[in-house]
């Protein structure tokens, strides 16, 4: 049964890909090699599409890969089984966190991690900036948007919609 196999393989990806979307890419290359479900070129295309469509990238890739192999039912199998490990683990972590969140050592550790996570987030931004901010025009738009967000508080979604318009207008 192809669906059972897809569920199993993507459950494993969900379980072992610690750290997010891009981490799943090597697992997908392994699958391409082991089962011949898709070619390397197809996989590269999947990554490109997943990066430039809405939704978390890892989920997009799971859906796309499942669809390639076994159509809509395949897409549902891969996506749902990829998120299942997360849901189970977070369920237990939440329970533990509820019980221990007042503990002073837990508080100490969590507040020590926070600045490191800010660094991680900034670094993720840098990764996107490297391929996005490529000339004076894109740099100018970045400065404009950053200042606009600073002084004209609107929701993140508002700015995402506006920036799509700016992209079209300036042909970025």
């Amino acid at each position: 049964m192809i669906y059972v196999l897809l569920c199993w393989e993507f459950f494993k990806i969900g379980l072992f890909a610690v750290g997010g979307g891009l981490v799943t890419v090597p697992f997908l290359f392994d699958l391409a090699e082991a089962y011949g479900w898709f070619s390397t070129a197809e996989l590269t295309d999947m990554i490109a599409v997943s990066q430039s469509t809405p939704g978390p990238m890892g989920i997009n890739m799971a859906t796309y890969a499942g669809f390639k192999v076994a159509g809509i039912a395949g897409a549902l199998s891969t996506t749902l089984s990829e998120v299942l490990p997360s849901m189970i683990v977070i369920y237990f972590v939440s329970k533990i966190l509820n019980k221990w969140s007042d503990n002073s050592n837990v508080q100490k550790v969590l507040s020590a991690i926070r600045p490191a996570v800010m660094a991680l987030i900034l670094f993720a931004g840098w990764d996107i900036a490297k391929i996005t901010i490529i000339d004076y025009k894109t740099f100018g738009v970045l400065i404009f948007l950053t200042l606009a967000m600073r002084f004209y508080k609107k929701s993140a979604i508002f700015y995402i919609v506006i920036s799509a318009g700016i992209g079209l207008l300036l042909k970025i």
Binding site: G14, V18, I72, A156, I160
Partner: protein, 179 residues
Amino acid sequence: MVGLWKIFAVFFKMGLFTFGGGYAMLPILKSEVAEKYKWVSEEELLNYYSIGQCTPGMIAVNAASFIGYKLRKISGLVAATMGVIAPSIIIILLVALILRQYMDNQYVQWAFGGIRISVVALIINTVADMWQKGVKRVRDYIVFAVALILLFWCNLSAIVIVLLAAGSAFIPDLMGKKQ
């Protein structure tokens, strides 16, 4: 109590406007879940990201599960997770079935060029906001600086960074507290 459909709908909307990986979703979570609906505090969001970084799976899904659980236990967890993945499933299926050629369309590319810049700007602003609220002690500055150095020059993985920072909690406070 927050309704399950409400949870699903809010996460559906956030999934729809997330472009890129889980980190790109943080500014949206902050503005919708923390500021607009006040379901969690910014501090809790950062905690979820810290832990979600070290547990299996996508960070976006982990964060959604955490928030959903906080609101409505296990049913909230399922509603939030299904909400955040539903747009992906719908859009990728549409792209794969009929819209593949539109992805290469020049106008679509331009729009995405703009969106990517706003993702960078949103990340800068989110970190700046959280910095103002959360970074007060000298040791926080040190952890932040060391983390950046390790990321840029040593290419350490995120999990290692988080674990090192967690360990730093047990280094005694030699310099005392700022302020």
